[in-house]
């Protein structure tokens, strides 16, 4: 396979609070290739949003710091770039689509201004050209009469239209990688379908890579080529989408798939994952999922398993299912 567009390995982003160190991201590995959609799926607080912010190096300092790992964007480690160069990448080659279209647009600037500022910054064009490009970007995401609506303020748009504006903003500089952080969570299901269809078009037409953060396994199944499942700050399983759904290996992934009701298949009972998601400030030693796990062994609560390759393109972090029970962790192994 060709060199990935983005390769994240061993990423660790911690928050240093008064109460102690919160390991929001603590061992995240994945790759994204051109024209592919990678889904990062997990529950609230599993570190998926912090992962995206770490890629863009936008984690709020001074409490939040990326303390380990590599983020290779076309072979270049983003974590080692000077800030000025990093700014040239943000919005230009890697763009963000955030969760809540209501709050991610500045209420006192017109949508045109907000799209144009990135174009002017990165493409070094004058305002007239930037405006034309901004109108084109709005048209591309399906906003009717874009030429006149460009001078309106965000509150004059509906929720679905706002998310289109945010996407237009992200696309304006034709980035190679789009990071969409729960782009449809705040939207209704019929609007969600519109936005997902739009993102699918973008991927196909522009050959951009997309990282799609979501907690909705349905969205993952519809949109993604590869999936990274996160739990308590770590990637616990990574594979292509067909494998994840047909042959999940990690007990958490399996539990998730069993616990969601599926349209059309009437089960009398769901099979839930028992217990509560852990607090990141007081993680148990060993596997964070151990207390809720149906396949628990004593080792699980003693030592954190590694993300092991069990098949081509299939990695699992589990002592039991990856057959790691008897392998002692090599000293100094990256976690």
């Amino acid at each position: 396979m060709a060199e990935p567009l983005l390769k994240v390995s061993g990423l660790q982003t911690h928050f240093f609070t008064e109460e102690g160190v919160v390991k929001a991201v603590d061992g995240v590995d994945f790759e994204v290739h051109r024209g592919q959609v990678l889904g990062i799926v997990g529950e609230s607080g599993c570190g998926k949003s912090v992962t995206t912010l770490s890629i863009l190096r936008l984690v709020a300092a001074p409490q939040g710091r990326t303390v380990g790992g590599q983020i290779l964007f076309k072979g270049q480690d983003l974590l080692k770039l000077p800030e000025a160069q990093m700014r040239g990448i943000r919005g230009n080659r890697i763009a963000l689509i955030s969760q809540d279209p209501l709050t991610s647009l500045n209420p006192v600037l017109t949508v045109g201004e907000q799209i144009m500022e990135a174009i002017i910054l990165h493409q070094h064009v004058d305002r007239r050209t930037a405006r034309k490009k901004a109108i084109a970007a709005l048209e591309a995401v399906g906003i009717p009469s874009a030429a006149s609506r460009i001078d309106e303020y965000p509150h004059q748009f509906s929720g679905g239209m706002r998310q289109r504006v945010v996407i237009a903003m992200a696309l304006s500089c034709e980035p190679e990688l789009l990071i969409a952080d729960e782009p449809t969570t705040a939207l209704d299901v019929t609007i969600q379908a519109q936005i997902l269809a739009l993102m699918d078009d973008i991927r196909r037409q522009r050959e951009a890579a997309i990282i799609l953060i979501t907690h909705d396994l349905g969205v993952v199944a519809e949109m993604c080529d590869y999936v990274a499942v996160m739990y308590a700050g770590k990637v616990v399983e990574y594979s292509d989408v067909a494998t994840i759904f047909a042959n999940p290996k990690h007990p958490y992934t399996r539990g998730l798939l069993k616990s969601i009701p599926q349209l059309g298949e009437k089960k009398s009972r769901l099979v839930p994952i028992e217990g509560q998601p852990p607090s990141l400030a007081l993680l148990p030693p060993g596997c964070a999922f151990a207390p809720r796990c149906t396949e628990y062994t004593r080792k699980c609560s003693q030592q954190m398993p590694l993300l092991e390759q069990i098949d081509t393109n299939h990695m699992v972090r589990c002592w039991v299912t990856a057959g790691q029970q008897d392998t002692p962790a090599p000293a100094g192994a990256t976690r």
Binding site: D188, V189, L217, F245, L270, E274
Partner: protein, 342 residues
């Protein structure tokens, strides 16, 4: 035939919009709920589904009279609730309860969870102190929590645990009927199933009747015997949950089903019906059928009927009701259908 526990007829709630400082006048109204009728049978779960702003949550609150309806009637166990005075409504509240969507907002942050659970018992002066403590312990255990948690504050618990506390409070006075207003949509995916199973178990154990409000079709379909679909303050379709999924008749229901993502990558290539545009405002809903502005089948009906005439809710037989001009059926004379219980 099963008994009706709840009969809702032509229920309306218009929130007035005022203008003017000196002379306040009504310039319009948000027609949140605009004339809906349905029955809930004893022991069943009726699902109420629709997108945000369709009036489903308002409907739940109108039934419990947490919001005063503009017009219509709500009969509960044969008693019309709407004309009741506060004093007469209070005993009725012992028979009907609500579980809220937001596990963070629905518990008083300054009240220990034991006191929150005991509140209904104290309000209705049903037991003395010792009995109340005993009852709170039982309730906590019943919803799967340790009885020692009674003297803790809500902020110490996770969302799923709080939702269990909310359910325990609703159960405290042995109600017959519970409105569950999006009880799992604020919860983590892995916890949702726990709460759904708990609700199902409690229903069996205490012979409860549910009105289950949600926007997630799969969840509603899983838990409900029958499902009603709402769009912009109106009910567009009502059928048994299996039938609604297998044979949706209203174009909106069809669109809703087809828009819902399915957690199965092999089904990705299925045909889908994508709706254009946004939800219209409930202040000035479209004329005729409210769905006509987004309906892909609007041209299938002659004479522009969809734009001019509001289709009545008609019975297709077997308790399958639909409000659409595409389905020429006689208006439903009685809304209660003979639905085989699952």
């Amino acid at each position: 035939m099963t008994d009706k526990l709840l009969e809702v007829k032509d229920l309306k709630k218009h929130f007035p919009i005022h203008r003017g400082i000196v002379f306040r006048r009504e310039v319009g109204a948000v027609k949140a709920v605009d004339g809906i009728s349905f029955d809930v049978l004893k022991g069943e779960t009726l699902g109420l589904v629709g997108e945000s702003g369709c009036g489903k949550s308002t409907t739940g609150r109108l039934i419990l009279r947490l919001i005063e309806p503009t017009s219509g009637s709500v009969r509960f166990g044969g008693t019309d609730l709407l004309p009741l005075k506060d004093r007469d409504m209070r005993p009725m509240r012992r028979r009907m309860q609500i579980v809220f969507q937001n596990p963070y907002g629905s518990l008083d942050p300054r009240m220990m969870v034991g006191d929150s659970i005991a509140e209904p018992l104290r309000v209705h002066k049903l037991m003395d102190g010792k009995q109340i403590q005993q009852r709170v312990k039982e309730l906590l255990e019943r919803v799967g929590m340790s009885p020692t948690y009674a003297n803790r504050y809500p902020h110490e618990f996770s969302g799923g645990q709080r939702q269990r506390i909310g359910i325990a409070r609703a159960l405290a006075i042995n109600p017959e009927f519970i409105v569950a207003d999006e009880p799992v949509s604020a919860l983590d995916v892995s916890v949702q199933a726990q709460v759904l199973n708990l609700l199902a178990d409690l229903q069996d154990e205490f012979k409860l009747t549910y009105l289950f409000i949600a926007h997630n079709l799969a969840t509603v379909q899983h838990i409900s015997d029958r499902v009603a679909v709402m769009y912009l303050g109106k009910m567009v379709e009502l059928a048994s949950s299996d039938r609604l999924y297998a044979e949706p008749k209203h174009p909106y229901t069809q669109a809703l089903l087809s828009a819902a993502p399915i957690a199965d990558p092999t089904q990705r290539k299925r045909d889908r019906m994508l709706l254009q545009g946004d939800l219209p405002s409930p202040v000035n809903p479209p004329s005729g059928c409210r769905f006509h502005t987004r309906c892909p089948l609007v041209n299938e009906v002659s004479n522009n009927l969809c734009k001019t005439e509001d289709p009545p809710l008609g019975d297709l037989g077997g308790g399958h009701l639909v409000a659409c001009h595409l389905h020429k059926v006689a208006p439903a004379s009685h809304l209660l259908a003979t639905v085989p219980r699952a």
